[in-house]
Point group: C2
Chain length 341, copies 2
DNA sequence: CTGAAAGCGCTAACAC
DNA sequence: GTGTTAGCGCTTTCAG
């Protein structure tokens, strides 16, 4: 790297002390107007910029936030990221971003790398594997070392920190309710994310809706498919029960896959089968028919999370108690569900 | 932030000098086995980790790369990012990532923030507005200050640095060729990205293909639509020429929008109209019919870009001449184009 | 074997 | 007004 000009260099050219230069550039009243202008002009001409690393060392603050996201191709996480980035850059914070790729090992490594780094705080949504293993040592350690963490979406009760979560239970409740109210007699639930905290909450919401409608819960209608299973086969088995006329999918790709399959099976949608799902990605708008979705307001979640983190960082002197903010979902009705009359 | 343990702390507890501790932790042969073990054990127990900021200051290297991406919701850029992240983390580099959101101003601000930062290098794809303005001062300055830049996809000849580009011309050439060979007599081109370098190259490729097939170029078939125009209306006008039976869209969303429109107009696809487009995103696989795409191998581009950058950073002593690597595209045939017989 | 000292670039309290 | 000094946390010569 070409050497950048430092205070020392300037001090030497004018044969003054480094402190004088520093003060001159800060427009300190201690320095004579003459000295100030000559130093300031010289600095400007030579594009002097303070070395931020030196400042970091001095201030023990880096204005940098670590962001750990499971998968950036997932619309929801991408939107959250946009929200985070927006507010962070507005406040002069840098983002060091990492993708855990749903792997526990990568997440641990990442956190390790990050915390010995120069971070003022971390925003994270847990990797799937981490939620499965329920091993949070890496994060507990980080908190113990005094680095604030804000978790979002996929969180854990075991960690004492700020959190931003989606009201998954209510989201599933409303969607299920909508399916029933719009005429579905038998709603099945398809989960490929039963490992995730949010997956479990969504199942709760589904149950709550059925209960409230006085429909007895048939556990066989709650289908948990894991990654290594064949999705199509699993779905075909459940759909051999021809009386199923509603499908609540817990995330986007399951819904899209299901749609393709049932179209091949010559179902009419939404007449024979209604479909609704979580995460409002572009895909759902563009498939035929378009799929009704529960929006989790990703951008807003991201914004909320950074705000909480920055707040904690900048007020570490008198910390508030940890908070969990709940973001409401909204149901976006499309062609895959029938309208209420 | 809770104070982390430092060399100084350890030195004090054992009443030795800081230098001794530093050497002991590095397992230096200068230090007695006894001293080493006791210090190492103590350090481990107390989770000693060197303060990387101090090291940055010392080494004038931060193992951090800045990444500026126009839009993370765009599949192509997301994939590039994944590629970058993968290789970067493998090599122990952090990523400071920013979204320019296609805005010139944000890009300039970002670069400014980044370069006074602590970066060893920058990877960037230009914002649309930047390509439109053709103002690259911010990047030229950065290069002048000795910070290496690798540009990808949306690049500029005015900047002397390493680049990774897609063979856009050949990609468009092949796709157009495919449309013709599979029976299209009149292929129109839809560009919503005529501001971009890549957009222009793709048009070139289209022309080249027509030329090679001895089809005279009808400029009215090259449709440039800008963001503020109504896409549907523009498309309807061009499709009033009923003899058009092929459509080359320069990016994903235009293709999807076009598909929806022509389906409404009761075209049969691919029989009445074949469609191909750039950027192989998930959407294209899932719409009905699925759309043939030109894959740009985003992940590979990202990987190539970081590798070039890391190479340059770590061998700054003897720099190579700047290089431009060209990544080949591949055509992925789907239902929206006819098969060759 | 261990320590003192200098230095990375900067700031701030305190002298002069 | 300007300079000196110490210090942020660490490494690395060079003395002892």
């Amino acid at each position: 790297m070409k050497k950048r000009i430092t205070l020392k260099d300037i001090a030497q050219t004018f044969d003054v002390s480094i402190a004088t230069v520093s003060k001159a550039l800060k427009d300190s009243h201690e320095i004579s107007a003459k000295t100030k202008t000559k130093i300031q002009e010289y600095a400007k001409q030579h594009h002097y910029k303070p070395n931020v690393t030196a400042l970091h060392l001095l201030n023990k603050k880096t204005k940098t936030i670590g962001v750990v996201i499971p998968n950036i191709l997932n619309t929801f996480f991408a939107k959250v990221f946009i929200g985070i980035e927006h507010i962070a850059s507005q406040n002069g914070y840098h983002l060091v971003s990492c993708i855990s790729n749903e792997s526990f090992e990568k997440e641990v490594k990442t956190i390790d790398l990050l915390k010995h780094g120069h971070l003022d705080g971390i925003i994270i949504s847990l990797a799937e594997e981490t939620q499965l293993k329920q091993n949070f040592t890496h994060l507990k350690n980080t908190l113990n070392e005094g680095i604030p963490i804000v978790m979002f979406d996929r969180v854990s009760d075991e960690l004492e920190c700020d959190k931003v979560i989606v009201n998954d239970l209510e989201g599933a409740f409303h969607a299920t309710n909508h399916l029933i109210k719009s005429g579905c007699k038998k709603v099945a639930l398809i989960s490929v994310i039963d490992n995730l905290s949010v997956g479990k909450l969504r199942v709760e919401g589904y149950r709550k809706a059925l209960n409230q409608c006085n429909i007895s819960i048939d556990e066989r209608l709650i289908v948990r498919i894991n990654k290594h299973e064949d999705f199509d086969t699993a779905l075909k088995i459940i759909l051999s029960d021809k009386s199923i006329d509603g499908l609540l999918c817990l995330e986007e790709s399951a819904a899209v896959n299901a749609l393709h399959l049932v179209k091949k099976m010559n179902y009419n949608i939404p007449e024979d089968l209604s479909i609704a799902c979580f995460t409002n990605g572009k895909l759902l708008q563009h498939v035929t028919p378009s799929i009704s979705a529960i929006s989790q307001h990703g951008k807003h979640i991201g914004q909320t999370a950074v705000k909480m983190l920055i707040d904690r960082i900048e007020n570490e002197a008198n910390p508030k108690p940890f908070e969990t903010k709940v973001v409401k979902t909204s149901l976006i009705e499309r062609e895959s569900t029938r309208r209420l009359h």
